[in-house]
């Protein structure tokens, strides 16, 4: 399996400070590309920091009629904003709610801070802001996201590694809307 860039999240290290979300929003204009989902865990709580998973099978890219989404050799799935027609079909196909419209009617999403990485200016803002190392990134062989609180990973094969809490206890979200 070829190594591609992916996020790595460790539930055991997250202190739910929201720094990852704030850094992303500050850098890209409050588009909420990243979410921090807080879940009850035993008598305490834990959280998952998640944005676009730069999936191995990016259904958003496959369904886009305008060829506005591309995946590069590093595994980063990006939207070309000059090509997007704003149909929103990609939001139908992505089960992770990763795509968000901007004010100009163009779809946007996490681009892994590609410009920073490519120009050697730094690492993704969210990873840089995480004070505990709960959110990291790296060249990963395959995603490990088989958790019961996320959509089935066979749909898009997300390239994210989730390290579950060490004490095995089922994670349950407080509520859901269906």
């Amino acid at each position: 399996m070829e190594r591609k860039l992916g996020f790595i999240f460790d539930h055991n290290k997250c202190i739910i400070c929201n720094a990852c979300v704030d850094a992303c929003n500050k850098a890209y204009g409050n588009l909420n590309w990243r979410s921090l989902i807080v879940m009850p865990y035993g008598e305490s709580k834990t959280a998952l920091s998640i944005a676009c998973n730069h999936c191995d099978n990016p259904t958003c890219m496959q369904v886009c009629p305008a060829n506005a989404i591309e995946k590069n050799e590093m595994g980063i799935v990006r939207i070309r904003d000059d090509k997007c027609i704003g149909c929103g079909f990609c939001t139908w196909a992505c089960p992770y709610e990763a795509l968000k419209f901007n004010n100009e009617g163009i779809m946007t999403k996490c681009n892994f801070c590609y410009a920073r990485l490519a120009e050697g200016k730094g690492i993704p803002y969210c990873v840089e802001a995480c004070p505990t190392g709960a959110l990291a990134f790296g060249w990963i062989e395959k995603g490990e996201a088989e958790v019961d609180y996320l959509p089935p990973s066979e749909i898009t094969k997300p390239r994210i590694v989730i390290k579950q809490p060490e004490i095995k206890e089922s994670l349950k979200s407080k509520c859901f809307t269906y």
């Binding site: 989902i37 009629p65 079909f89 992505c94 992770y96 749909i155 859901f176 809307t177 269906y178």
Partner: protein
Amino acid sequence: MFYILKKEENYLGLLAFTIGSEFALGYSLFKLPFWSIVSVILLVASLLLSVNHARRTDRFYRVIYNLKTSWLSREVLFSSLSILFYILSIVKPVFYYPALVFLTAGVISSIIIYMLKSRPSWYKADTPVSFVGSIFTMSLPICILFNPRSNNYYSISDNIAIEIISNHMRSKVRTSLNIVSILISLISIIIPEIIIIVEIMNIVSETEHRKEFYEKVIYYGLPKV
């Protein structure tokens, strides 16, 4: 696993196009009166309405740029080609055949567009059944109206019954309309004129069902807190 119940925003154009193209396909399949002109009007009007779904209509020409993998690109291309051939068929009836083939391909593309694993409420048999069903339920009553001696009464009933089964009677409005529609279509064997009631009821049933299709979307998503 978490599901979100969400409503598709700005769906009226999509509803108009899916219903419009299915009606046009059924109408022309049975070569009902003025089939070419009626199909052109239905397709052009509903396609124009659906363009509005894209927020950047200034770039709408790009919608056919991903024929390699996008069924939306294919749907728009096939449907547009069918419009061209329906227009040509007004002058040369032989173009009826490519028009019908391309519109069929367009409707098949529509079905595949909605068969998304990320949306379990769409990723089920009722989607193709209701899309294909509406081709027939909206055109067969008109067939009978113009040819009361045809044997299409039972075809209507069969189609509607299949739609009820595939919907698992989840929608009370849909189920009620369809049951009454079956009864009236059977009564119309004796009084053919009342088949017009079946036509109206079927259009209402298909439209209501499609509205629910867009308004009650079950979607895999992130857990909500």
